[in-house]
Symmetry: C2
Subunit: 184 residues, 2 copies
Amino acid sequence: MKTYNDTTYAILGILTTNCKSGYEIKKFIDQSLNHFWKISYGQIYPTLKLLVQDGLAEVQTESVPGKPASKDYHLTTKGMELLKKWLAQPTGQLPVERNEILLKLFFGRQQSEEQSRILLQDYKQELKKRYFTYEAIERSIMEHEEDEEDTKYWLFTLDYGKRSTQAAIDWCHVTLAQLSTKEE
Amino acid sequence: MKTYNDTTYAILGILTTNCKSGYEIKKFIDQSLNHFWKISYGQIYPTLKLLVQDGLAEVQTESVPGKPASKDYHLTTKGMELLKKWLAQPTGQLPVERNEILLKLFFGRQQSEEQSRILLQDYKQELKKRYFTYEAIERSIMEHEEDEEDTKYWLFTLDYGKRSTQAAIDWCHVTLAQLSTKEE
DNA sequence: ACAAGCATGTAAGTTGTTACATGATTCG
DNA sequence: CGAATCATGTAACAACTTACATGCTTGT
């Protein structure tokens, strides 16, 4: 049987919300999945084409007067079944998070402690921004709550984001303290 | 000026430790960088070739009798300078950690709560294993401590791993509790 | 008139994984 | 003798990003 990658399943999953076109899918990703699954147009459009080819989705060309023509996709029964099958499958290996700051800090001996400190301080700032963004998304989800069933799960993933970001912030704090006391 | 990707810098950095050959580099990565920067042979060997081409490293073919021939690489002054320059540069955007479990949980409405629970339980188990691995690496680093300056930074990155893993474990715990009480 | 947003798409390039191919040595 | 480890490398493929190309509509 043919296999698909997770990005394809992500798009399959998004089609269960009320996003229909490639453009809407991209919008949706940018304000929800974005912190743990980015997808670009370069993937979305070819994937949608593939889904139709494989009978997992169907297209209708929507031509509302006064709007650019858009293609609306919706899952077929086959597509829905495949999604559910994937959801039920155990996930493989834990993901490895590529982290440029850790990579640089790992080789910290090659530069001054001051430089490592600057790196960490910048990183901490970025993490704080991210944390605030998560809080903003959280509020926005809770205000809308049109679709109660979905939002519950969306808040779970947001909580993950908040917790791991907070852990990283704490780590910056502790590490910075160790860098500034050790030398000088 | 020519630009290099982070993986190339990672290899440049590893050459400052006492790893010299492609084989040793791979070994080193597997037991240290592995939790935040995986690199395969398919990248290592071509990259080493490139480093020599660009005058960032030099090779010597080591033929110790009774051992397979190996190529020993060491950084040139130019290579060392480039590494330091990269280290001092501020890092770009925060990385996006692709997470299959979050992706599946995000679409949790499409399956039973029981299935989401199983997913989370498996994930928690894997995270715990990872945490123990980190503790083991930590002990092993502290026992050796031949090279005091480097180990300090290595322990920083390990601490990051431990903290973020612990945060994820906590999240599993809380989320599982919410899943089992909400329904039935 | 023009910028911003809506809307679709492709081509080239980069990065990375996997599987394969090769061969020496060491240990049981 | 065979398995494990040491050691180097490549080719095919998969995945993803970026930049480009196109064209409509709406608001200023």
